[in-house]
C-alpha cells in the first residue's frame, strides 16, 4: 500500500490541471525499499501530447542519480489521462519498468473533480492498491473531494498520523 502526504497529492493534481489537456508526469521519491512517497519531483513531458507522456532522458538521468545519492527510489511514478479514466493503458503497462514503483494515475477529464488511482505493474500484471493519505485529518474534506478508485475502500484515512 502506498503512503503519501496529502500536500503531495494536492501538488500532483495541481500539476495535472496546469498541463491539461496535455498529459502531465512526474515522480515522488521516497526512502529506498519503502512505500512512503516523500519528495515530489514534477517532470517535463517531453512528448507534450494529449495522449502520450515521456520523461526527457537527460532529466531522468539527473533525477535518478540524485535519488541514488540520497538512498531514495522512485516510490511513485505518476501521469495524467486527460480524456480517459485513471487506469493504465496497454502502452502504460508495456513501458512499466520499475517493478517496485506505485504507478499513480490522475484523470482530469472532468473539469471539477479528479479521479486518482494507484497500481502496481509487475511483468505486465496490473494490480490496484490502497492509498494511505498522511495528515488527512488536517482537512479531510479536501482529500475526500478527490475520487479515489472505484470504491471508498481504496483509500485508508485511518492510517493518518500513525
Amino acid at each position: 500500500m502506498l503512503s503519501i502526504d496529502r500536500a503531495i497529492v494536492d501538488a500532483i493534481v495541481a500539476h495535472a490541471r496546469r498541463d491539461h489537456p496535455d498529459e502531465a508526469c512526474g515522480v515522488v521519491a521516497g526512502p529506498a525499499g519503502s512505500d512512503l512517497a516523500t519528495r515530489h519531483i514534477p517532470m517535463e513531458n517531453a512528448a507534450r501530447s494529449m495522449t502520450f507522456y515521456e520523461f526527457d532522458s537527460m532529466e531522468q538521468l539527473r533525477v535518478w542519480r540524485e535519488m541514488d545519492d540520497r538512498d531514495e527510489a522512485p516510490v511513485v511514478i505518476y501521469h495524467s489521462h486527460t480524456a480517459t479514466e485513471a487506469y493504465p493503458s496497454r502502452t502504460d503497462v508495456s513501458f512499466a519498468g520499475e517493478p517496485d514503483a506505485h504507478y499513480l494515475l490522475v484523470s482530469t477529464r472532468e473539469p471539477d473533480s479528479e479521479e486518482i488511482r494507484s497500481f502496481r505493474i509487475v511483468a505486465g500484471v496490473v494490480t490496484e492498491e490502497k492509498v494511505c493519505i498522511l495528515d488527512a485529518g488536517v482537512d479531510p474534506h479536501a482529500v475526500q473531494s478527490y475520487m479515489f478508485g472505484q470504491s471508498p475502500a481504496t483509500v485508508d484515512y485511518e492510517c493518518s498520523g500513525r
Binding site: E23, F52, E54, L61, S89, G97
Partner: protein, 112 residues
C-alpha cells in the same frame, strides 16, 4: 578494457541481482554481446530482433544519451561508465501509435 555498467532493478534478474557489472567492447553493441555471454538474456532486453536499441530502455555513456551518439554503434573507451534506465513513458491510448520525440513507432497491441 573494462566498462562499468549500471543495471536497473527490472533487469537484475539477468545479473544475479547485481546492480553494477563489468564488461568490454569497442562499441555499445559489442559491450551488450559481451555482457550477454555472462548474463544470459540481457541483450534481448536491450536490443530488438531487428538489431535496434529497445525503446523501453534509456542507455547512457557517462552523461550522454546513446541515441545521440550512434546508439549501438556508439564508441566506448576504457573507463567509460554505462547506465541503463527503464524509459518512463506511456499514454492514454491502447498502443503507442504516437510519434514521440524519438520517433517511437506504432506497434500492434500485444496478443494480436
Amino acid at each position: 578494457m573494462a566498462i562499468e555498467v549500471r543495471i536497473p532493478t527490472i533487469l537484475r534478474s539477468h545479473t544475479g541481482g547485481a546492480k553494477i557489472v563489468e564488461g568490454a567492447g569497442d562499441t555499445l553493441g559489442d559491450l551488450f554481446t559481451d555482457l550477454d555471454s555472462r548474463h544470459d538474456g540481457l541483450k534481448g532486453r536491450l536490443v530488438t530482433d531487428t538489431g535496434a536499441l529497445h525503446r523501453f530502455v534509456n542507455v547512457y555513456i557517462n552523461d550522454e544519451d546513446v541515441r545521440f551518439l550512434g546508439a549501438l554503434e556508439a564508441k566506448l573507451n576504457d573507463g567509460d561508465s554505462v547506465t541503463i534506465l527503464p524509459a518512463v513513458a506511456g499514454g492514454a491510448l491502447g498502443f503507442a501509435a504516437v510519434a514521440g520525440p524519438r520517433g517511437l513507432r506504432a506497434e500492434p497491441p500485444a496478443g494480436r
